[in-house]
């Protein structure tokens, strides 16, 4: 899932300066799981903005709402007129939701309430770890299911650097060395010899270096288009 963390309150307060009527809009999927931007968090942010406005004697009306997912248009349909009634919408979705709603909503500005951080998992309650970089060219079958791009601080493709130390990364003792994990896992799987195979240079065009990515499933997109024309 996409993991984020709530923006510091002073930054949110700075964002609303000059606006009179603000909606904080949560997203009840990924960012709700990581307690950053679901409906509950949107309600808390709206309440905090109201309290700060009362403290400072500023006229500010705040409301909150949430949709199931801010990355698909149909979830906004019942809310769109309401959204346009505000001077500002603070979206606590990931950056995808903020971008997407900005395009749909028209003249109303949409500001981010969350810092989108990474694609990760939840190994324990309250703990979120980055496991995938969304690079568009998965090699997990070659690395024991452990991603060197997301989990090695240098995204090295050919084994550990000199900074590896007893299974930990030189960047922080809290970070496991991904290549240490890869070797140990491949030993366990009996596939360590595969690391000796020469791999061609990686094509990074599928990642950020190739520009914004787009996938179109024509068999579905064509159907949708035909339905819309009816």
């Amino acid at each position: 899932m996409i993991v984020g963390s709530q923006k510091p309150f002073p930054e949110l307060w700075e964002m609303v300066q000059g606006f009179k009527k603000v909606l904080v809009l949560g997203c009840n999927t990924c960012v709700a799981i990581c307690h950053a931007g679901g409906g509950k968090e949107a309600e808390i942010i709206a309440a905090m903005l109201r309290m700060k406005a009362a403290e400072d004697g500023v006229a500010l009306e705040t409301d909150h709402d949430a949709v199931q997912r801010q990355c698909e248009p149909e979830y906004f349909d019942p809310l769109m007129e309401k959204l346009r009634g505000y001077d500002l919408v603070i979206s606590t979705a990931c950056g995808v939701g903020v971008n997407f709603l900005s395009k749909l909503i028209g003249a109303t500005p949409v500001y981010p309430g969350v810092n989108t951080s990474f694609y990760g998992a939840v190994p324990a309650a309250g703990v979120f770890v980055e496991l995938c970089a969304g690079c568009g060219n998965c090699i997990l079958h070659l690395t024991g299911g452990i991603c060197p791009i997301a989990r090695c601080s240098k995204s090295l493709m050919n084994g550990p650097c000199g900074g590896t130390d007893k299974g930990k990364c030189e960047v922080s003792k809290d970070i496991d060395c991904a290549w240490y994990l890869i070797v140990e896992r491949m030993k366990e799987l009996g596939t360590l010899a595969r690391l000796g195979e020469i791999q061609p240079p990686r094509n990074w065009a599928t990642a950020r270096d190739g520009g914004p990515k787009r996938i179109v499933l024509e068999h579905i997109a064509d159907l949708e288009e035909a339905e819309a024309k009816k």
């Binding site: 510091p8 309150f9 002073p10 808390i44 905090m48 309290m51 700060k52 009362a54 403290e55 400072d56 004697g57």
Partner: protein, 56 residues
């Protein structure tokens, strides 16, 4: 939640959570009494103080 209150300049001790069962009426009354006394000793919140100031 206490951390969030602190960012607004509100004493985090103004918020407490207690786990009680429905059978703990006397304990509930004791907690309420003690907490009300504690809040009285704290005085008005910055929000209340600001609102009073605006009304003057």
């Amino acid at each position: 939640m206490k951390k969030l209150l602190a960012t607004l300049g509100i004493d985090p001790d103004r918020l407490e959570m207690f786990n009680l069962s429905a059978a703990m009426g006397p304990r509930w009354a004791q907690i309420c009494t003690e907490f009300v006394e504690k809040m009285r000793s704290f005085g008005p919140t910055p929000i209340h103080a600001a609102k009073m100031k605006q009304q003057c």
